[in-house]
């Protein structure tokens, strides 16, 4: 393909075809349809194949981006997905949920003057193609080593470790507290953003490789880490996620109709309450909804509420638009779907009726002061600016903490003062012999790809420990 550089630059970024906002705001089907082969080829042809690709530096797991994109332009889709797999075991997931604008695409050279290459969309394209039409051929596995590994938690971090170590010949069992594997990918991120089918197909792939997945096992309760060692496990990886809801700690928070985002999303996604009464788990369907926070979790909650039939959904956030931590695509999608933003606003108390149901809240306006520890300008309340808003459903999405269930029931595991597990940053080793940890339970709530990166690092270290003894 000998094409002039100028011509390449002229090809605009190929938009992703997606459901119309008016229609999709009332259904749970995935929003973007994915690239067609034609669109993918066009978009791939935009990549300049940089010698020193800055995009790769932006990717936390260093996917060979020009490499896999070149294979797309050559029509070598199977080779292309193989190339991605070298670094990233869950491309169909990452293509959909990575904050690309802050990572790979944010670093793409084209982005300096023009729109960056749609790396995420292309990654998704080849991964979907492989899942739907691929040969299903399994990668080669090393000879059995006779070593047993327990992976606790089946989120992206745990699944990465399981996939890496099974290929290296170890015997791997994943223990999951919930009745379904996948972690946040299944209980948190909604169907319209990440179809559960994709996650199950990834888990199924691991099972075909020989990974055993044991659901309904709350490690720390059903079995302890020391008991796992007694049962003959040689190493344990903890990828249990953050999993502790944070509340606002303001009066009235226990009124009916006030949920943590964890509960709201778990009911809707994992328990399929959006299909009630076909599924048995109920959920409060608000007409007038308030969501607190402005990260991905808040956007997911807001868009879920809209799909469950709300007339009005407001995102209430105490800082300004620039500080919103959600992926740009999610904010954009939320706006298109009619979600309203109440910025520089914080709730001070909830109001309820005599049945204990929430009816509204009192808020106060904020202004931005000096930057705080996170480097973001600190919101300060504006005197005398209190006002009331009505709502019949409120979802609190202001972050998560470290769930102490496992860590507190385990001896010898060093935690920091917020309860997260302390690990060696180069290996993922914890203070307890034979135990590694990674993902949100180490870093606090982060991203799918960082949780996977931590898993990759730990699996390398576990492999060394099992084969070389260090």
């Amino acid at each position: 393909m000998v094409e002039g550089k100028t011509k390449k630059e002229k090809m605009p970024r190929q938009p992703m075809p997606e459901q119309e906002a008016e229609i999709r705001r009332r259904n749970f089907k995935e929003v973007p349809f994915g690239y067609t082969r034609e669109l993918a080829l066009k978009e791939a042809s935009r990549c300049l194949q940089c010698k020193n690709p800055s995009c790769v530096e932006g990717c936390p797991v260093s996917v060979d981006i020009p490499g896999f994109i070149k294979l797309i332009t050559e029509g070598e889709f199977t080779k292309s997905i193989r190339k991605i797999w070298e670094r990233n075991a869950l491309p169909a997931v990452c293509g959909r949920v990575c904050p690309q604008e802050a990572q790979c695409e944010g670093n793409c050279i084209l982005g300096k003057k023009d729109d960056p290459v749609a790396i995420g969309n292309l990654e998704r394209f080849v991964a979907d193609l492989e899942r739907e039409k691929g040969t299903g051929e399994l990668p080669p596995k090393a000879a059995p080593t006779g070593k047993k590994v327990a992976v606790v938690g089946s989120g992206p971090s745990g699944l990465t470790v399981a996939g890496d170590l099974i290929l290296k010949g170890h015997d791997v069992t994943v223990f999951e507290a919930f009745h379904k594997p996948g972690g946040v990918l299944v209980y948190g991120i909604p169907e319209f953003r990440l179809p559960k089918e994709i996650v199950y197909s990834e888990v199924n792939f691991l099972e075909r490789l020989g990974v055993k997945v044991e659901c309904n096992n709350v490690v720390g309760r059903t079995v302890s880490l020391d008991e796992l060692f007694e049962q003959g496990y040689d190493a344990i990886y903890l990828g249990v996620g953050a999993g502790l809801p944070r509340f606002l700690n303001i009066p009235g928070e226990n009124l009916i109709g006030i949920y943590s985002a964890n509960e709201y999303l778990t009911r809707s996604n994992l328990m399929k309450a959006y299909l009630f009464p076909e599924y048995d788990t109920p959920i409060v369907k608000g007409k007038n909804v308030a969501i607190f926070g402005a990260g991905n979790v808040a956007m997911d909650s807001a868009r879920t509420a809209m799909r469950l039939g709300a007339d009005k959904v407001r995102i209430i956030y105490r800082r300004s638009k620039e500080e919103m931590p959600a992926r740009a695509a999610e904010i954009h999608h939320a706006e298109q779907e009619g979600i309203e933003f109440y910025l520089l606003t914080a709730p001070t108390r909830f109001l309820g009726d005599d049945k204990g149901r929430v009816t509204g809240m009192e808020c106060i306006k904020m202004e931005l002061g000096e930057p705080d520890d996170s480097g973001r300008r600190r919101p300060v309340p504006l005197e005398g600016s209190k006002f009331q808003l009505e709502c019949d459903l409120a979802v609190i999405a202001v972050g998560a903490g470290a769930n102490p269930l496992l860590t507190r029931s385990t001896d010898g595991l060093k935690l920091n003062k917020s309860g997260y597990i302390i690990t060696d940053p180069a290996t993922g080793k914890t203070s307890k012999k034979g135990v590694w940890a990674g993902g949100d339970i180490v870093t606090g709530s982060a991203t799918v790809i960082l949780a996977m990166g931590a898993g990759r690092m730990a699996s390398d270290s576990i492999h060394n420990y099992l084969t070389l003894g260090w």
């Binding site: 507290a177 009745h179 309904n216 059903t222 328990m271 109920p282």
Partner: protein, 279 residues
């Protein structure tokens, strides 16, 4: 996996006992702990206390009141059928301590939850006076087992059809008047626990209750089960389910238990229709 090995209907079919194969849970469970069960793919996660366990056989026993859609669905399961998911043991075990004379008060299906605690308290050397009650004689459960588990058993029925005529709280007062009681454990419907706590507060006797807040995960990740204890929010599934009854905001708990009244009625109606259609 979670096969039903034994099944028995009690209290005129309003209460059902299942013995379920769950070896991992049976090995670890202690009095006061519960499991979460899900019958099938579309089912909801329902918390039930383990009324008994047999670590050798690898079984747990649940005893539940048939109230709405899910417990009716559970009731329809026969010996040889399976629960799709059983998760546990969850919650803090009862803190069993030798104190002297203790009273265990149970109402309705609460007696099933109370039974292993009563037995445990007696085993470590307490003198246990048990008071159990039901609306009427036919609804009374586990009388024989409670007799064995305690040193002294009093039975009450609201309508006087059996035992003492009156509420368990009347009997409780009577015993508190006579005895030097170190601890009361009260388990049953929320209004009953509330009144038990009212009585024991007058006598200044520490009282444990077991709170049946609505739950989803049972591992402290969702906050669905939040209860107010001494003005502070706690999660019943991991901080409880047992709490100091004198600190509990029972009114809030009662309201929160009604959160899904409308949906529960819809689910039950749909289930009844389907059952009829299926003959």
């Amino acid at each position: 996996m979670f096969e039903i090995l034994k099944r028995q209907e009690m209290a005129d079919g309003t209460v059902v006992m299942n013995e379920i194969s769950a070896p991992l849970i049976a090995k670890k469970a202690q009095p006061g702990q519960f499991v979460i069960l899900k019958a099938n793919e579309t089912g909801e996660r329902i918390p039930l206390t383990m009324a008994d366990t047999d670590p050798k056989k690898g079984t747990i026993t649940i005893i539940y009141q048939v109230v709405g859609k899910s417990t009716n669905l559970f009731k329809s399961l026969q010996v040889g059928d399976h629960f799709q998911d059983v998760i546990g043991p969850l919650g803090k075990p009862t803190h069993l301590e030798k104190l002297g004379t203790v009273i265990c008060v149970g109402g309705g299906t609460g007696v099933a939850v109370l039974h292993p605690i009563t037995r445990g308290l007696k085993q470590i050397g307490n003198r246990v006076i048990a008071i159990i009650g039901a609306r009427t004689k036919d609804l009374l459960i586990l009388e024989d087992k409670m007799k064995v588990a305690s040193n002294e058993l009093h039975v009450c029925t609201d309508d006087g059809s059996y035992g003492h005529h009156g509420f368990v709280t009347d009997k409780l007062k009577e015993v508190l008047e006579k005895e030097d009681v170190k601890l009361v454990v009260g388990i049953g419907p929320v209004p009953m626990m509330k009144f038990v706590c009212k009585v024991t507060e007058e006598y200044g006797v520490k009282t444990l209750v077991s709170l049946n807040a609505i739950m989803v995960d049972g591992t402290g990740m969702c906050g669905c089960c939040r209860v107010s204890i001494g003005g502070k929010t706690q999660f019943a599934c991991v901080d409880g389910p047992e709490f100091d009854g004198h600190q509990v905001d029972f009114n809030e708990l009662m309201q929160r238990l009604d959160a899904y009244k409308t949906e529960e009625a819809i689910a039950m109606d749909k289930y009844s229709c389907e059952c009829k259609a299926a003959g």
